[in-house]
């Protein structure tokens, strides 16, 4: 087994009275796409948010690249984790280019560095450069999702979390963007953890496929 990016050790978490999982342990490899397939409401989204510290588990430890997640300095840790969600969450008051470059601002990158990297990424995911100065609402759903991806990986994080990012796209757009993701992964491999309820998508993208059911994870491929 290659390098371990994420190590979840004995996680237990409940949401109100509902037990989402009990004593869950999992290791996720670096530089691979791991897809967690599960029904909506199964808690797979919660699992992702536990990894980037948006949710603190009731019990258990999260380790990223051998280091336990430092909740006291969580902002810094998150700069190393790309995060994209289904609703994309582009900031409506910022132009496309500024949305993409925002993490660079947080990390204190120089303007040149931000601009160069943003232009590079836009090209990589086939976003025309004329979109740079548009506002998010002027873009199609697929284009917005591409912008979201660029933003998530601007800082070239070793880890990216994708929370059903493509489920609201039409099949053609979805197919296109799947190609972009695979291309990105070839160009700059990283540990991608994606949750989805779409088995076809899971098959297509996943190097490792996990099924999440009744709080249990089972390997299927």
């Amino acid at each position: 087994m290659s390098e371990i990016a994420i190590h979840l050790d004995n996680l237990s978490h409940r949401f109100g009275s509902q037990v989402l999982f009990q004593n869950l342990s999992l290791q996720i490899e670096a530089n691979k796409i791991t897809v967690i397939l599960g029904r909506s409401g199964s808690g797979k989204s919660t699992l992702l948010q536990i990894i980037n510290g948006l949710i603190v588990p009731d019990e258990g430890v999260v380790q990223l690249f051998g280091q336990p997640l430092d909740y006291g300095n969580i902002h810094q840790a998150r700069l190393n984790i790309g995060y994209a969600v289904q609703q994309v969450g582009l900031f409506p008051h910022l132009r496309v280019i500024d949305n993409i470059m925002l993490p660079g601002k947080l990390a204190g990158w120089s303007s040149e560095r931000k601009e160069k990297r943003a232009a590079e990424l836009m090209e990589l995911v086939s976003l025309p450069s004329s979109h740079a100065n548009k506002f998010p609402y002027q873009l199609s759903g697929g284009e917005q999702q591409r912008v979201g991806l660029c933003r998530a990986i601007l800082l070239n994080p070793p880890l990216m979390l994708l929370d059903e990012p493509f489920s609201s796209l039409d099949p053609d757009t979805k197919a296109e963007i799947h190609q972009e993701v695979l291309k990105l992964q070839r160009m700059e491999p990283r540990c991608i953890v994606m949750v989805t309820h779409d088995p076809e998508e899971a098959q297509k993208l996943g190097d490792v496929l996990l099924k999440f059911e009744n709080g249990e994870l089972t390997t299927t491929a």
């Binding site: 948010q49 980037n52 948006l54 902002h75 810094q76 840790a77 998150r78 700069l79 984790i81 995060y83 969600v85 609703q87 969450g89 900031f91 409506p92 008051h93 925002l102 993490p103 601002k105 947080l106 506002f135 609402y137 933003r151 979390l161």
Partner: protein, 489 residues
Amino acid sequence: MRILSIIFFLLLTFTSFGQVIKVGAKHFNESYILGEMLSQLLEDEGYEVERKFNLGGTVVCFEALRTGGIDLYPEYTGSLAEEILKSETRLSLPELNTQLQKELNLEISSSFGFNNTYALAGTPETFAQLQLTKISDLRQYRDLSMALSYEFLKRKDGWENLKQAYNLQLDPVGIEHGLAYQAISNGKIQITDAYSTDGEIEKYGLTLLEDDLGFFPEYYAVAVFQANLPVQVKRIVSKLANQIDEDEMQTMNSEMLYGGKTFDEVARSFLQRKNLASGSKSRASQGMLKQIATKSIEHLSITGIALGLAVLVAVPLGILLFVFSSVSRPVLYVVGLLQTIPSIALLALMIPILGIGKIPAVTALFLYALLPILRNTTTGLTSVDPVLRKVATGMGMTVFQQLRYVGIPLAMPAILAGIRTAAVITIGTATLAAFIGAGGLGEFIVTGLALNNTSLILQGAIPAALLAIVVEFVFEWVEKISIPKHLRS
């Protein structure tokens, strides 16, 4: 608190410095004329006089006098005894003077001569029809249309006690005194309260009901001032002793209200007729447009300072309330409570603390402007899409970064809308600030109301309305240049 008291002390010393005598007057015509007479007498002897003639009633004038906002003002013995000393018994003039000195370190001058007591007035036709000649005749009626001035409704020697003394069953409504006569001559109301020297009694040919139980105390006009007023000034004030009788006062009031004369002219010609003043000096009076411009600028500056301060306090406070949301509710309740205090009452409440003039007015307006800005800031931040907040947090933003890059920019339309609302409220409310001597366009309105002079009211009301509209436009423009089109509401 310590800083406040230092500022207050500085203001006090600053305002009482120099040989400027500050003459006040209540906002009705007779008080203007008497205040103007006192001012002219003083100016004739070389004093510089600052006129503060729009003070909103006995309590405002009195608090202004007590806190040094004014040095003297014309008052009536009955008002002093009942309203200020809360005396249970009728006091003679010397008794009144002794008590004022002892309890408040204030003095009064000799009487100017006339007794301007309260009376109930109506048209002779109405009174004949209802067979009314004296107040006790009112006992048989339950639903006459009676409108009384707000001050009379509240006074100790006003309606409530009159009603008890005469055992009356009537249920009056409140009306601004300046409007009552018009209402009575239009037949809109049947009875109102009047002062026995009101010019309108003559002008509208009204009849007064006889006070057959002798309920109303005497209201001799006097000047009231602090005991430490320079002797020289007291001597000048005493020149008016026993110079004016009821008829002369009624005529002067009528000249001013219906003869087209200003109170400046009325006072001057009277003093000349009585050989009390040379009348050589005349106050330079500005043209109307220039006056409107001056008052508009004054109005804008009061409003602008109050609004600016409110923005400086309410926006950061709104942000803090969003971050520490557990305290947000109680704070918003308290600020909301401030908003429910009627503006004129809030202005009056400022006087004991801050005296009269621009400072209490700005303070009151500031308090009024807080809520819309505060609430919109907090609401604007709270209503940011939770997905955006999740993404911002997930991206690694600190609370401060989230506010800076996401929350505040997205709440900006709401914040601006709050400031805009506050600006319009403040411009409107600032017209009332004239009641506590803050100046501005309200001075025209308040004077116009007191003098029943519609064109004077419009002279203040139209520019104030225009200002509000202009401010709306300015904010619209600011919104246009600062907020992308798709984010505007």
